[in-house]
Symmetry: C2
Subunit: 434 residues, 2 copies
């Protein structure tokens, strides 16, 4: 590595560490706890002031809980983080767990009463992710038991023994929801990726063979069914037999803008560059935890990174586009926070695997755009949504689902990788996965 | 129906009833109980005298237990049958259940100590089948709980969330067995059919949606992957992704005989006429219990019946061949008891669905051959194995796996169907499935 690049990466490393410890962690520690009703506050405006919060999403409460647990697992634990993690576990177990049918309700009012009692796999993923992480940080067997019970419920009620994979939308009593609007007939890369993500710390926590086996089955399922072999990028949604179906939830252009457009051919598939790169590094992490070599998966990983680096990175204004066609045409040029955080981690991860200089360039590009436009340095967190040029479209620092999971994780994952790359002394413990 | 056919069927009906109540039931009631070690005796010679019995197979203990439970559920219960059913449930729970890992050991010594502690899906099928039937007969919640727990273990440890269906050979701790000789990489029509068969009374017993859903998933899995769309018959064995593989366990010709031969092309698939027709009637029964119309499955059912009636029935000597090629060529002409009992039920079932006179002719042919050669009327049970002409090759009335399940069930299922066909007064209660 030449000295100039090394120096550049060292500066980014320092900026990320500062942002994590001086911006982000204080930001969330000050705001997270809902002292009135338990659990966490999630909605903050452009200045970081709390907004109305009619809903607590289980997946977002769990992401929060994961973050504070992960801080304690990674760095010298602090009482404040531990207390915040504990508040999340308590809220999840006391309020979100269905005592009658098992599993986690998907949506509650701020006061913890149930607003929507469906069982959505996405929520079950993140509670497993949080509770396994909490166990790994604090050795709390109750948390591991709930995570493990959730895993068992997924196997019994959500797994599809006809076509493989998991049904994603179920009723409170675990009947599969109707097809169509209720999504009972939908399978997605999103939920399956997050199942893979969740089973990774679950296996670390339990060491149980069945958790490892299901982790690898889902990883292989994604490889077999969910990645376009022609272009290397991911499909988003599928029918139960894994035939790709165009994305359901139009418009993908959330904030109409001159450069954004829907393709006139509605049968074409949009792919998300950010999601694809997130998938690649989560897949590589899952393989590491399962002690499986990347060998036979390298072509898949390569395809995911290459498609995003070739088409997703904005060479003119910087940052990462949201959606485009598999064949390369860009369709949605807006810049959203989470695709940036995930590709920061992901392109460093890709560089570790393949030593391809384009990935480091992409990392620097995306960091510079994020540092300049996405991060609100005055307050310490990331804005939600910008237009292509970096103008703020939605500057809120906490949307209902935007907590410290994407942003905080990226700073931790990136600094860990930069420490390895630059031969720096690690700041925290290696969690065995990053 | 013409008077001659009606008269013929009435005679068969009476012969079957007599055989059941005067031959078979007394035969098994006198011999079944192992008064020394609990559970059941399974090995009897040509005269019905007990033979050495080094092994108790869990699946065969369970089949026995199913039979006595089914008698009580179907006819006016007798203390003797109930006591025999109870002896099986007690032996299963006390001896065959793995207290540490859950599930059923597959093989024990006669004294009930464990001989082989692997977890084989085939055994799990028949314990579910027996315990659900026992619950239906006696309302014993303990039996339903064990059946239901076994179902849960199958979902967690045996279901393949990558390709669908179930792994069939697992170690004691539910790791999938190695590939090759240990069969960890094998899936079969046999085990999947018996899972479908087992989930049928399980759903009747529990009324639970998940039991119905998994019943229908496995039924559809068989339709999608396990039936040859070109010829209508079943494939036997598959790799985990359901690519049909030629049968593993050669030779299929158990007793070499002039008319039997292996086909020189080892890549060709043998199909079992008896198994295919058993599949058809079990499928039709599953649909009935699930309250699903046969409508969209009629083509599959028709294919299974037609292939067997076209190629499997021996027009010269009577009875049913064992194996042939999908394209119709007969390869193994031996006559084995269970293919005859299952096709007796099956061809009557096919006649109920399609009113095809060939199926009634096949039923009569197979009964006449069975009545003349297979049934040992002096003692009351069926011989195991004959050559094509009906000469006894193995006249034992109880092989390790041959208990009253195939033979007893056929007499009950056939008399029930003949009562409907001939407008006769039912002898016993309709179990809601036959």
């Amino acid at each position: 590595m030449d000295e100039q690049l090394k120096r550049r990466l060292e500066l980014i490393y320092q900026a990320m560490k500062d942002h994590l410890f001086e911006g982000m962690i204080p930001f969330w520690c000050r705001r997270a706890m809902d002292r009135e009703y338990g659990g966490y506050m999630t909605n903050f405006d452009e200045s970081g002031n709390p907004k109305d919060m009619p809903v607590k999403n289980t997946w977002s409460q769990a992401r929060y809980c994961w973050f504070f647990s992960h801080l304690c697992r990674t760095f010298a634990p602090r009482d404040e983080w531990a207390g915040l993690a504990r508040a999340g576990v308590d809220f999840l177990i006391q309020r979100c767990w269905d005592q009658d049918y098992g599993g986690w309700y998907c949506r509650l009012r701020r006061d913890g009463t149930v607003l929507l009692d469906k069982k959505i796999v996405y929520d079950q993923c993140f509670t497993i992710y949080a509770l396994a992480e909490y166990y790994l940080a604090f050795d709390d067997k109750r948390a591991l038991q709930y995570a493990s019970d959730t895993f068992d419920l997924l196997q019994k009620y959500c797994a599809d023994t006809l076509s493989g994979g998991y049904y994603e939308y179920l009723e409170r009593d675990w009947r599969v929801s109707p097809p169509g609007a209720a999504c009972g007939d939908m399978k997605s890369l999103d939920s399956h990726m997050h199942l893979m993500e969740a089973f990774t710390p679950l296996f670390q926590a339990s060491g149980r063979e069945i958790h490892r086996r299901k982790l690898l089955e889902i990883l292989d399922l994604i490889v077999v069914h969910m990645i376009d072999p022609e272009f290397g990028c991911g499909w988003n949604q599928f029918n139960p037999q894994f035939r790709p179906t165009p994305v359901f939830r139009k418009p993908v252009t959330l904030y109409p803008h001159e450069e954004n457009r829907d393709h006139p051919d509605q049968s074409l598939h949009y792919t998300s560059y950010g999601h694809n790169v997130e998938l690649a590094w989560l897949m590589r992490r899952a393989l590491k935890v399962a002690k499986e070599d990347t060998g036979k998966y390298r072509k898949i990983l390569r395809g995911l990174f290459d498609h995003a680096v070739s088409f997703g990175v904005d060479g003119q204004y910087g940052g990462l586009y949201r959606f485009g066609l598999h064949s390369g045409e860009i369709l949605v040029t807006e810049k959203e926070f989470w695709q940036h955080t995930e590709t920061l981690t992901g392109f460093l991860d890709g560089y570790e695997e393949f030593e391809d200089a384009r990935y480091i360039d992409a990392f620097i590009n995306i960091w510079e755009f994020s540092d300049t436009y996405l991060i609100n340095h005055d307050v310490g967190e990331w804005r939600h949504f910008l237009d292509r040029r970096g103008q703020v479209v939605n500057g809120n620092l906490g949307q209902p689902g935007k907590v410290a999971y994407h942003t905080g994780r990226a700073m931790i994952e990136c600094t860990r990788r930069l420490e390895r790359l630059l031969d720096l002394k690690p700041t925290g413990a290696d969690s065995g996965s990053s």
